[in-house]
Structures are given as C-alpha cells and as structure tokens.
Point group: C2
DNA sequence: TTTAGCACTCAGGGCGAATGAGTGCTAAAA
DNA sequence: TTTTAGCACTCATTCGCCCTGAGTGCTAAA
C-alpha cells in the first residue's frame, strides 16, 4: 500500500498545519495554500481516503481532519523533512550549553532545564551506567571520630561521604585500610563483592577491620546508585502552555504521573539503533502516556556511562524541530563529556 | 478596637469554613452549625460589622463572606488553635522522615518532596551558611594527568572534584601542596584569600605552584556555593489541585514565577523570632505572590548553617495544619542534623 | 479525473429566563 | 437593648434555545 505523491503531500501538510495551529485542518484551508493547485473538493476526496486508511481522524462530522497516531508515525518515518538549525539557533544552543562543569548531577539538571526551555516542553534527563567499578579508594582523617571516604569510579565520577564513628580512628589504620581496599576491591563490580572476598579484606585490614563493613556498605551504595538510572525532570509547567492541556484535570493527571517513577520505564524501550527515538501516543506502553508523545535521545558520557535526554508533550508536537534540537544537544554533550570541551563554537563572521 | 467574643468566634468559623470549602460562607450555613446558638439574622449583622472593619470581604452582593488578608492575619495571630498532630500523623511523619543520610543536596530535595506531599502544596527548601571555611584539604592522585581535590568545610560538608591537567602530576607534589594548603588556607573565610596570602602559598608550594590557582579556584567556588543559598522547589503540580488555580492562566503564571529565582528573596524576610513565619497574600513583597500565602520555618543544621523549609499556596490555606506539620518537620530535621538521629520514635503501644 | 454546487451536520457562541443563595433592612419579640 | 422573623432585592450561575458558519459527502457537470 503505497501512497500517491499527492496523498503524501496532503498528509504532510495536514500534520504540519495541525502542529502549528492545534486546530483540525479543513479542505478549504489547504486549497488556499500557495503551492496547492487542486481544489478543495479534490482534497476532500483524498482526505476521505486517508481517513479510510486510518491516517487521519475526524473529531466530529463537521470538523476538519487531524492526524491519527498512525498518521504521525508515517509522517515521522517518511515525510518529515530534516529541520535545519539556523545559524542563530546553533549559536544560542551553544551559548546555552556553556555550562560550567560542576558536579555531575548539577550538570544533568541544568541540561534538563535547557532542553525544556529550548523545546518549551517538560524534559527529563537520566543516566545509566553498566559495570561500574571502583577505580580508587581514599580514606581521609577528618577528626578524632570521623573520616572521609572518597570513591572514584570507572565512570570518572567521584563521590565522598563523611563517616562518623563511635570509636576513634587512627591515621595508620586508615592508611592500611586504604591500601588494602585499593589492592582488593578496585576494578570489581559490586556483584562480585562476595562474602569470601570481604572476609579476606577484613583479615588483611587488621586493626581497621571494624571499618570494612561501613566502607563496603557505602561503596556498594555508590555503585548501585550509579548503576540505577537517576532521573531528573524539569519544566513540567510548560505543559500548561499547550492547548491540549487547557483542561486542568488532564494536565494534573499527566503531570503527577510524570512526577512518579513512571519515566524510569522509558529507557527500556530505547534500545533501537536510531539515535533519536520517538514514541507517538499509543505507542507508549504506559497507559498514562497514551495521548502523549515522547522524544528521546541517547548520548555517551564515556566509560560505559550513558545519558538520556527526552521531552514529553502532546502528540501534536513539532517533531522535526524537537528532534533536531535534541540531537544537536546530545551530540554536543557527548563531545563535551568525551573531551571536556564545547563543540566547535562556530563563530559566524558577523 | 477589641472584638467581642462572638465576633471572634464568627471570624474563626468563617476562616475555617472557607479554608475547608473554598466557597464564600453564608449566614445561614453558619447558623446551622451545632454550636451556634444565634440566628442567621444576628450573624448577618455581625458579619456586616466585620466587613466594615475590613476583616471580611464580599465577592459580590449576593454571595457569602470570605476572609480578607487582615482577617487571615488576625486569625493566624490570635484565633488559630494549635493543630495537634495525631499519633498517627506523628507516626507517618516519622516514617516519612526515615531518609538515609545521603549527600546533602539529596536530603534537601527529599525533604522538599516530603513536605510537599504532606501539605499537598508546592514546597521549597533552601540552605544558607555564614562564614563557611575550609576545615581540611586533601589531594588524591587519580591518574597521570589528574587528581581529586577534596574539601571539607566547617559545615561538615565534603565536596570533591576531579581535576584534569595538561601536565602530569606527581605524588610528592600533591603531598606537599596538600600540607601547605592545610597549613595556610584552613579556617579562613574565602574573603580573606588575599593576593598576598595566595602568593605566599604559591611560593611555599614549590614545584606544585602551578596547581595553586586551580585548587584555590575550586575552593572559593565551593565556599561561595555553600554561602549562597541554594534552592530546591518541588511539587509545583499540587497547586493545580487547588480550586483557586483551576484557571490555567493563573496557575501557569504563578508556577513560572515560582520556577524563577524569585523565592530567593523570601529568606530576607524571615528574620523574626518566631520559628514559623507566615506571609499572607499582600504581605508578600513580590507582587506575583500578592494572592498567595507562604509559610516557612527555619531549622539549624549546625556549624552556622541554616535551612529553610516553606510551602506556597493560596491564601485560603489550612494554616494551622501546615504550620504544625512544618514545625514538626523542622524540629525533627534540626535534631537529626544535630545528632544524626531521628527524633524519638514515639512508638505507640498498639 | 477533477471541479462546482448543494444539502446536511454539528460544535460553539450569544442571549434571555429561571434559579436560588445570600444580603440588608424593618418591625416585632424577648 | 438585643435578637429574631420576614420580606424585598441583588446577582452569579445554569440551562435551554437559536443561530452561525466551518466543514463534510455526494452528485452531476466539465
């Protein structure tokens, strides 16, 4: 079932017009467009067939047509023209991206905020890592009853914790323990922290043996936390600007679902090859999102860590634009995390 | 101008009834209440006088009365009865509070989420510190071209950063530098990092002198970040549940203002003695909040650090309940940060 | 195969009447 | 002097109604 050129053109026009106006598109309006040469009657006939094919829908008899989920899908897969970022846009994207490399989480929230702003939709970011291991331990004396545990992981993330103890600690104990830890528990995923191994560590630690469980505990916690994808969601408010969420009930329902951990299920579906993935309305597994589209994209942070950026919005969403912006963002972020640099600044001559 | 007992009683009833129903309160409805012995006509007379006094308002001629800002103020200051947390509530508050002591920021966001949930209103948390200094520096070799800087501050907050360099570093350099830093820059507020002092440090650091600016840079950044109050906002969505924000425009406007840094102005007004402070509608300085009330409370984190928890909601807000919950929360948090313990668990016998 | 023409459908806006919750005032009762 | 019953009046809200106009499908001519 191949569509004629004219049908394709019509479908594209309808999708884009609907995206722009959020109103059902009528035959007359289309006929009035400059590059449309055929009459509204013809268009009506064609539209009737497209409706038959399940690509368009009619809210009610006397309204224009809107794209169905299948219509969007076809549009995205075949009709959508690449949105080319203008020089100005690239510029302002780069500008926005000049985030100081602070702590990792902060960067991720910041990225979320930016994406949300750029797309004017709620955005989420999340990270996931596979096979994180500890690269280096360090124990620092902090007071008579406390020390700082510093753990540097394979993903180049450094975490620390101030640990307070009822008993007192000595510098030598910490030195010893740190040496033991670095010798035995580095480069090993948390799953392999077997009781036997830990036992060995304890024995090797001598007088510092009592600290082992505490340290190991925190370490596994850090590793687990890095494994388990963490999620940041921002810009929820922007949904309210979309006409489909003028209805408070609806908006509230969606937003409160978003708040929940529901998004954590999304990454599961992201394992396709295309860099940007789009889920249109009913294609979402979560039933709360059946009337919502999700656009997401991956980027590499290096060392087995991956990030995900996505936006959530009404099915009527400017897929082309959102996709373009998201890709650019992801690409730049990848470069940034990889090389600790911004993408080529592309200073224009003006 | 002292109100008669009956007027006080009426005002209290009207405020509470309005808080409960979000509808203007009429004389008949009041007269029908079990502990009201006088007739609706009497009530009408009294209400007319209360309106005269500016404590009540009438949305339109044929509607009941609602409290004015002054009415709320009087209610809060004099009529509001302490809301006693039930055993069940204390229990579930304690339960909610069993947050693992993770990183500091996470705790604060978590607290925000909980407060928001408990009050069913958007909540914000923020921290501020005064006179933060570094307690201890530590430099850890992380690779040929990188090292980890660990800074422990007076507030017992430990921050770290992985620093990558174009040149290579040696263990001895780091040892030396760390000794110098600990000797010269600890217990000193960032303002006193004078050029002369830094110069002295550089000279003392010998071959590691080139690292000094980098380390100092990050350190001042950390200190500045801890000084400057950081803000977390959560639960924005809950506003949508409130009848006064059925109007999308309104909700959107308020929410987007909340998103901004506007809240950062709030703490300025918090310097009164009472632990919980309430700003009713027009009492807020920010004009976007003129129809909104803010309830906030301080708590101590120790070592000169203070936290602030607050909620934002419609003027018609259950002040008694919100205040009670917030206080309890703040108190418990204070204890927790102070002693690293939960408030007495109050396990009931059942 | 396309287009003009026409009858038909139906959501949305505008309008007026009906509804009823609530008031203020007056005059009688306590 | 204070409280209450009664009554006329106000006015936001709801509902039903009609009208309008955008949009359709179908038919017959180009």
């Amino acid at each position: 079932m191949e569509l004629t050129d004219r049908k394709q053109k019509l479908l594209r026009i309808i999708v884009e017009e609907y995206i722009r106006t959020a109103e059902p598109v009528g035959s007359k309006a289309i006929a009035a467009m400059p590059d449309v040469t055929f009459s509204s009657a013809t268009i009506r006939n064609e539209m009737a067939e497209l409706t038959q094919l399940g690509l368009l829908e009619q809210p009610h008899t006397s309204a224009g047509r809107i794209p169905s989920a299948a219509g969007y899908r076809l549009y995205i897969d075949e009709l959508m023209q690449d949105y080319r970022l203008s020089v100005d846009e690239t510029k302002s994207l780069n500008q926005a991206m000049e985030l100081k490399m602070q702590e990792f989480d902060k960067t991720m929230t910041q990225v979320g905020k930016m994406v949300s702003k750029l797309t004017n939709l709620p955005a989420y970011t999340l990270t996931s890592a596979t096979n994180t291991t500890v690269k280096k331990f360090e124990l620092i004396m902090a007071g008579e009853h406390s020390f700082i545990l510093v753990v540097m992981t394979s993903g180049e993330v450094v975490k620390n914790k101030l640990i307070k103890l009822p008993l007192s600690v000595t510098e030598t104990d910490l030195k010893l323990l740190s040496a033991v830890l670095n010798a035995t528990l580095t480069e090993i995923p948390a799953e392999d922290f077997t009781p036997e191994l830990l036992d060995k560590v304890s024995r090797a630690a001598g007088s510092a043996a009592s600290l082992v469980p505490i340290v190991v505990d925190y370490t596994t916690q850090v590793l687990a936390e890095l494994q388990k994808s963490e999620i940041w969601l921002t810009g929820q408010t922007r949904l309210l600007g979309q006409p489909e969420y003028r209805d408070i009930e609806k908006a509230e329902k969606l937003l409160s679902t978003l708040d929940e951990d529901m998004i954590s299920n999304l990454p599961a579906t992201v394992n396709r090859d295309s860099p940007v993935q789009i889920l249109v309305g009913p294609e979402n597994i979560a039933k709360e999102l059946k009337e919502t589209s999700v656009v997401m994209t991956r980027f590499d942070i290096g060392d087995g860590m991956q990030g995900l950026i996505g936006v959530v919005g009404p099915t009527r969403m400017d897929y082309a634009k959102v996709t373009a912006r998201l890709s650019y963002f992801a690409e730049s972020l990848g470069k940034m995390f990889g090389k600790h640099e911004l993408p080529e600044a592309k200073e224009s001559e003006e």
